[in-house]
Every structure is written in structure tokens, then in C-alpha cells.
């Protein structure tokens, strides 16, 4: 799609040296790596807590911790995974690294703001961690009032931490929107953007529009705790359900901050490894925008049993069904891309196919939950836990893993070990289903979520689930070794090891400081496999 670039010896990794040069870097690629280090560290922590939860749930009653410790670990797991891993995971790490390369730009539009947003994440996370550990916050990641107003003092700081992390998200989104509008290489029209860019664009719109609502809501909680103004606490004349509305007005769109970029990654992986142009480019691009738009009007499905009016419940059920349509379009278009392709099965592709498998199950169970008459039974049970893990872990984490392996040669200029990468796929994929499929059954049987203890009839399914979780844990540990091994000992990577067609593969691996020695000139779409 563009002329091949001159290869140079200097690249962004060896341009300058020392920790200080990293901490003050303005290069989007280095900032992407700073995010990678942060997100992987948080992920290991959040994963460790998940393992502990599954040990506790291996048997009813007390296994290794008491109820209040369990609730704290559950809060740690949820808060870390949502605010520090899945939200920044793909946009801020992979997006930061790939987006300018994808559109043929030297960097993002505001490199200083880009660095600032990383510091926002680190500052917010530090505040949250400090309080989570010191004060034993036990509200769950949803901070529902009035519980969060009455419980331990730490909540104020955790909420403040999430507030600061929110700015990281807003600034990244803003940066991406401006970058996509203003810094595209000559010839890179909107209809020639790779689908990952379309996904990041839709995500950025949600980040900029929705995150301020969360920020305001969290500030109101802090104000209520510190000043005693009565907004959410009925003892002061407030309404706790109002908090649920505010919270989900952000947190439902946030679900798409988590999944839309993953869909973008999967579009890249499927075309690259099928060596075939994407089926229905415009439909996939537009469905990202469609999902982003509709996502603002479905928050009420989290309040089907909370006491909102029945009419509201029915309207929200209807709108939620509409989100299913663009999602179905994407799925079918990916499958159609495989048709008459020339498919290879390196580990990134395995993760993309795994994504399709798990995301489809997450999607159809989402429709079941959107059906209001059935949701009344499933609401707040393990069915919901299973559903959103299929979407968030089966979807987003599979895409992150696939994306890391896919862009590994570009990011580090080295190859990872393909055999062990496939082993991680098998362990994570199998372990995932063993963990979460039984939770659908537990939910149907009526086991509520966030339960420290459970009735004896739920024991055997919980055991299976725990064993599955430890399998996933093993898979991710091996993946960590694959990454570190590739980083230190991997074979030198070529410029374009997968034979893919997007712009980042036309520059050297790893790319030079400003990405391209000669500004690329784009003459065709991103997936011209003819």
C-alpha cells in the first residue's frame, strides 16, 4: 500500500538511554510501553486476587480467609481489573503504540498530554492502592451507595483515585480523536483507515463523553462522605438509586471502552492471518460508531430490579436489544472474512479465533440478560458474572494477548517462541471455559454473586470453576515468560513477518524515533491482499 522504507540502525528503543529518558519521553511508542509495564503489573496483581478468590470458593464456609477479607479481595480484583487493566489495556497500550503507525503519523497530536495521561493513571492507581490496602475498602468496584458512604474511611480515596484515573482516559481519548482527524498521512482518507483505528476512534468518543459523568459522580460521593450533603444517602434525604443511574450512565458505555478496541484488534488479526481483505469494511467501521452511539442509552438494564419504573425497564430492554445488531454484523463479517481465505494459525490467529468463540457466547447470553422477564431471575447471580467475564476476559483479554503476540516483532524487533505461545493459548482458552461455563449453571440455579459462602449444592460446580481459574493463571504465567524470553533472547524480527498490509509493517522493526524515515504516501485501502 505504500513504498517500502529505508531501514536504519537507530530505533526508538536505542535512541536514548536511561530510566530518566523513559520517564520523560514524548515518543508515543515509549509511552505505549510505559502503559504496557503498568498494565501488566496491575494485571498480575488483579489476577493474583482472582486466584485467591477461587481458593476461598473451592469449598463452602471459611477456606483461607474470612468474610471481610473476601470482600476486600473481591473489591481489589474488580477495581484493579476494570479501572487499571481493561480500560487502559488496549487503547492506552496497544492503541498508543499502533495508532500513529497505522495512520502514517510521526506521533500523536499532543505528545505532552499523552505522557501526562500516563502519570494520571499512575497517580490515580497509587492513591487507590494506598487506600485499598491500608483501609480495607470492601464496596466492590461499583461503590453502591449508601453502603459506600457508611463503610470504611478508605472509600473516599479509592473514589478519588478512580477520579484521577478517569482523567487519564479522557486525555487519551481526546488525543486520539485529534490525532485521527489531523495527522493522517497523505492519501489516508477515512475509508482507508485500518479498522483498529475506527475502533479506537469510537472508543475515544465514549471516553471523552462518558468519563466526566463518572468523575462528577465520584466527586459527589466524596463530597457526601466529607461534607454530609444529602444526594445519595436516604438518611440525609438523598436517593441511592440516583447513584446507580449516574454510575451506570458511565459504566455501561465503559463496557464498550473495554470491548470496542478488542474488536478492532481482532479485525486486524483476522485479515492478516487469512491474507484476505476484510469482508464488509464499511459495515464493521460503522457498527463501531453505532455501538458507541447506542451504548449511551442502555444503562437502565443494570436497574431492572433496582426500583426504576416498569416503563423505563421495558424501554431499556428494547434499546439494549438494538446493540445486538451491530455486534452480530461484526461477528458474521469476521466469519465471512475467513471464507476463501488463505489462513495460517500462528498464536495471534488462535487468540482471534478464541475471541470469536468466547465473544459469541458472551453475546448471546447478553441477549438473554437483555430480555427483561428473564433477567429478573438472573440479575445479580453468577449468570451475570459468567456473562461479563466471557465478554471482558474471553473478549478483551484474548484480544490483548493476540495483539501482543501480533505486534511483538514490531514493538521489540524480536520474535517470541511460537510453540510456547500456542501452549498459553490452549491453557487460557480451555481454562477459561472450565472456569466460567459452570458459572452460567450456578446462576441458573440461583447462586447470587459476591457470595463469600454458598449452599452445599453449589459445591461441585464451584470446584470445577476454581480448577479452571488456576489453569488460566498458569497460562498467563507462561505467557509472561514467553514475553520476557522473546524480549531477551528472541530471534531478530523482519520488517513484516506476517506479510500484513497495514502501514506499520512498512517501517523497520522496531521503528525509528519518528516512525517513518520518509513520510508514507497512501494509495490504497488497508487490506489489499490481491
Amino acid at each position: 500500500m505504500a513504498t517500502a522504507q529505508v531501514v536504519s540502525e537507530k530505533n526508538y528503543l536505542n535512541e536514548s538511554k536511561g530510566l530518566w529518558s523513559w520517564l520523560t519521553t514524548l515518543d508515543h511508542k515509549r509511552i505505549g510501553l510505559l502503559y504496557m509495564v503498568a498494565v501488566l503489573t496491575f494485571f498480575l496483581l488483579g489476577g493474583l486476587f482472582a486466584m485467591l478468590l477461587r481458593v476461598e470458593l473451592f469449598a463452602p464456609g471459611k477456606t483461607i480467609m474470612d468474610a471481610s477479607q473476601y470482600n476486600q479481595v473481591m473489591t481489589l480484583h474488580g477495581t484493579i481489573m476494570v479501572f487499571m487493566v481493561i480500560i487502559p489495556g488496549i487503547p492506552a497500550f496497544l492503541g498508543n503504540f499502533i495508532l500513529p503507525l497505522h495512520i502514517g503519523a510521526k506521533d500523536v497530536a499532543f505528545p505532552r498530554i499523552n505522557l501526562l495521561s500516563w502519570y494520571c493513571l499512575i497517580t490515580g492507581a497509587s492513591i487507590a492502592f494506598f487506600s485499598l490496602f491500608k483501609n480495607g475498602v470492601d464496596t466492590g468496584w461499583t461503590f453502591y451507595t449508601p453502603y459506600s458512604i457508611q463503610t470504611s474511611n478508605g472509600t473516599t480515596f479509592v473514589v478519588l483515585g478512580a477520579f484521577v484515573m478517569g482523567f487519564s482516559s479522557i486525555l487519551t481519548g481526546l488525543n486520539f480523536i485529534v490525532t485521527i482527524h489531523t495527522l493522517r498521512a497523505p492519501g489516508m482518507s477515512f475509508w482507508r483507515l485500518p479498522l483498529f483505528v475506527w475502533a479506537l476512534y469510537s472508543t475515544a468518543v465514549i471516553q471523552v463523553l462518558a468519563t466526566p459523568i463518572l468523575a462528577i459522580t465520584l466527586l459527589l460521593i466524596a463530597a457526601e462522605r466529607l461534607l454530609g450533603i444529602g444526594i445519595f444517602d436516604p438518611k440525609l434525604g438523598g436517593d441511592p438509586v440516583l447513584f446507580e443511574h449516574f454510575f451506570w450512565f458511565y459504566s455501561h458505555p465503559a463496557v464498550y471502552i473495554m470491548i470496542l478496541p478488542a474488536m478492532g484488534v481482532v479485525s486486524e488479526l483476522i485479515t492478516a492471518f487469512s491474507h484476505k481483505t476484510i469482508f464488509g469494511y464499511k459495515a464493521i467501521a460503522m457498527s463501531s460508531i453505532g455501538i458507541a452511539a447506542v451504548s449511551f442509552f442502555v444503562w437502565g438494564h443494570h436497574l431492572f430490579v433496582a426500583g426504576q419504573s416498569e416503563v423505563a425497564g421495558i424501554v431499556f430492554s428494547f434499546i439494549t436489544m438494538l446493540v445486538g445488531v451491530p455486534t452480530a454484523i461484526k461477528t458474521f463479517n469476521w466469519i465471512a472474512t475467513l471464507y476463501k481465505g488463505s489462513i495460517q494459525f500462528q498464536s495471534p490467529m488462535l487468540f482471534a479465533l478464541g475471541f470469536l468463540f468466547l465473544f459469541t457466547i458472551g453475546g448471546v447470553t447478553g441477549i438473554i440478560l437483555a430480555t427483561i422477564g428473564v433477567d429478573v431471575h438472573f440479575h445479580d447471580t453468577y449468570f451475570v458474572v459468567a456473562h461479563f467475564h466471557y465478554v471482558m476476559v474471553g473478549g478483551t483479554l484474548m484480544a490483548i494477548m493476540g495483539g501482543i503476540y501480533y505486534w511483538f516483532p514490531k514493538i521489540f524487533g524480536r520474535m517470541y517462541n511460537e510453540f510456547w505461545a500456542r501452549v498459553t493459548f490452549v491453557l487460557i482458552f480451555v481454562g477459561f471455559n472450565v472456569t466460567f461455563y459452570p458459572q452460567f449453571v450456578l446462576g441458573s440455579m440461583g447462586m447470587p454473586r459476591r457470595y463469600y459462602d454458598y449452599l452445599p449444592e453449589y459445591t461441585s460446580l464451584n470446584r470445577i470453576s476454581s480448577v479452571g481459574a488456576w489453569t488460566i493463571g498458569t497460562g498467563f504465567l507462561i505467557a509472561l515468560f514467553v514475553i520476557i524470553h522473546g524480549l531477551l533472547k528472541g530471534k531478530k524480527a523482519e520488517m513484516n513477518p506476517w506479510g500484513a498490509k497495514t502501514l506499520e509493517w512498512t517501517t523497520s522493526s522496531p521503528p525509528p524515533h519518528e516512525n517513518f524515515i520518509n513520510e508514507p504516501i497512501v494509495t490504497a485501502g488497508p487490506y489489499e491482499y490481491r
Partner: protein, 327 residues
């Protein structure tokens, strides 16, 4: 094992999983008519889900195998196909609309409160459920209702949000402080049904359980007229109240739970937060039950909801006598 037996056993497993998923037989036994309606809708949804998943997975696997990379074979260049794309957005849309309309119909039944229902007040608090009947009778943790009678629960919470969930009736409703919420059911057969708290409410959330006992009408009327404490000594009254209201947080032994274990407390010195000490006499225990925040025992959170107005004098002095007896 030969390949054929492996395939055959995988096939049997698969069919049983599909029929289970599609048949909804993991759901608890149905206690009401509405539960049957919910289950038929769920069978439709599960069936449609299983079929669409099989379609997606099968085409994915077949294409992946059929079009694996082979030397000299190039991929086809297919940019889109308007008819196919229209069909695979329109057909799911129609299925979603059926699900939506059917869901609405079932939800209408779940949420339309019957007129002339038998009414019971429900109070949720950390971490137990209490029930108050119009006859003046109260019960804790055990709800007694007549069968074949529509029952409406009028629910409130003394502290944080709880949720009243009866899996056998396929219904739940959040219990929100500061307002009343409603739930109704009409039980078909006498029996016992499990109640859970489904909204996270703190340490005792998973212990916030209750049982519904559905009795034939005559038995229920008899129960309603009974004095539950008739012929009991104060210690026995206290023990009954303690088991229903206190065990989510307190042990009758010395072992601590959310709050202190109560064995051997009476008559002894108690260390308070802030360094004060107090001797546990009748007045101290009474105050700790009615106004728990007044004196916090060292090393414990201020987590107890006040019981002021919730216990009758007979029950309160019963509990105090019971705690005295734990030596």
C-alpha cells in the same frame, strides 16, 4: 478406546449439555405459575442461543480447515455482499424483537401486583430479614404464607440496599432504604423455598438468607394466631430471637465473627475503642443492642444496625437473659 467411541461419547456429552441448556433444567423447581412462564421464555432464548452458537462455531471451524494456507492457493478478493449483510443483520434483529416482546409480556406478569393480595411487611437490615403480619405476629428469617393465595410483600431497608430473591419463583426486587418496594407471588404447592439477599451489603451478605414456608390455608391461619413464645422461659425466648437475628454476626461461643463472640461476656470487663473499659451488665447489653454505636468494642468495626424499635420488651429481655446464660 477407539476414535469412534471417543466421538460417540463427546457427542452424547454435547447433546446432554445442549438439551440441559435448552431445557432450562438447571433452574430450581418452579414454585409459581409465573416461574413456568419465565422458563418457557428461557427455553426459547437458550435454544436460539445454542443454534446460533453452533452456526457460528461450525462455519468458523469449517472455513478455518477448508481454507488453511496451501502453497500456490491465493485468497479470494471479496469486499462485501449487500444481501448477505442485510440478512445477517435483519434475521438477528427479528429474533431480538421476539425476545424483547416476550420478555415484556413475562415482566408484566412479574411486576403487576394483584389486587386483594395477602400483605406482609418485610424489613431488611444487615444481615437478616424480618416479617411483620397484619395480625401483629412477627417472624425472623422464616416467612410463613398461605398457598394458592396471591401474597404481596411491602419491603423496606433499615440501612443499605438489599435484594429479596426467591429463585424458585424466578423473581427478585431490590430493597432500598428510604422507600418501599414490592414483590408478589402465588405459590402453587406447600413446601419450603429458599430466599437470598442478591444485592451486596457487606460482610454478612451471603449469610442473609431466609426460608419461605408455604402452608395450606387452615394450617397458616392456625400459625398466624399462635403466640410464638407461649410457654417458653425468657432464656428460651432469647435463644429463639438470637438464632434468627444475631447469628449472622455473633457466635454464641467466644469465637469472634463480624462482632464479638458472646460467651462469657456478661459480668466481665470489656475494652472499648478509645481506651475506656466497661463492665458488661444488663444495661450495657441493652444499650449495645438498641444503640450499637454508643460504645464500640476494641478491634471491631462500627457495623451493627440499631435494633431500636425492632424488638419487643419480652424479646429484648429474653436476649439479655440468653447472653447471661452463655457462661
Amino acid at each position: 478406546m477407539s476414535l469412534a467411541t471417543v466421538i460417540a461419547s463427546i457427542n452424547t456429552l454435547f447433546i446432554s449439555v445442549v438439551s440441559h441448556a435448552a431445557g432450562g433444567s438447571f433452574m430450581p423447581p418452579q414454585g409459581t405459575k409465573v416461574a413456568e412462564k419465565v422458563d418457557s421464555l428461557y427455553r426459547f432464548l437458550a435454544g436460539a442461543s445454542v443454534i446460533s452458537c453452533i452456526l457460528v462455531f461450525a462455519s468458523m471451524c469449517i472455513f478455518a480447515y477448508q481454507y488453511r494456507r496451501r502453497p500456490g492457493v491465493k485468497s479470494a478478493y471479496i469486499s462485501h455482499n449487500t444481501l448477505a449483510e442485510f440478512l445477517w443483520s435483519f434475521i438477528p434483529f427479528c429474533i431480538f424483537m421476539v425476545a424483547f416482546a416476550w420478555g415484556w409480556y413475562v415482566y408484566h406478569d412479574l411486576r403487576t401486583m394483584p389486587k386483594n393480595a395477602f400483605e406482609v411487611h418485610v424489613h431488611g437490615q444487615k444481615w437478616n430479614w424480618t416479617f411483620e403480619y397484619k395480625s401483629g405476629r412477627k417472624s425472623a428469617g422464616e416467612l410463613y404464607v398461605p398457598v394458592n393465595t396471591p401474597v404481596r410483600m411491602i419491603m423496606d431497608s433499615a440501612d443499605v440496599i438489599h435484594s429479596f430473591y426467591i429463585p424458585a419463583f424466578r423473581t427478585k426486587q431490590d430493597v432500598v432504604p428510604g422507600r418501599y418496594s414490592n414483590i408478589w407471588f402465588d405459590i402453587e404447592k406447600p413446601g419450603n423455598y429458599q430466599v437470598f439477599c442478591a444485592e451486596y451489603c457487606g460482610q454478612g451478605h451471603s449469610a442473609m438468607l431466609a426460608k419461605i414456608h408455604a402452608l395450606p390455608k387452615d394450617k397458616f391461619d392456625e400459625w398466624l394466631q399462635n403466640d410464638p413464645y407461649k410457654g417458653l422461659t425468657p432464656v428460651q425466648v432469647g435463644e429463639a430471637v438470637f438464632k434468627a437475628r444475631c447469628t449472622a454476626c455473633h457466635n454464641a461461643t467466644a469465637e469472634k465473627k463480624v462482632g464479638p463472640g458472646l460467651q462469657g461476656v456478661f459480668g466481665h470487663q470489656v475494652d472499648l475503642e478509645g481506651g475506656d473499659k466497661v463492665t458488661a451488665d444488663e444495661n450495657y447489653i441493652r444499650e449495645s443492642i438498641l444503640y450499637p454505636a454508643a460504645k464500640i468494642v476494641k478491634g471491631f468495626p462500627n457495623a451493627m444496625t440499631p435494633f431500636l424499635g425492632q424488638l419487643g420488651e419480652q424479646e429484648l429481655s429474653g436476649v439479655i437473659e440468653y447472653i447471661k446464660s452463655l457462661q
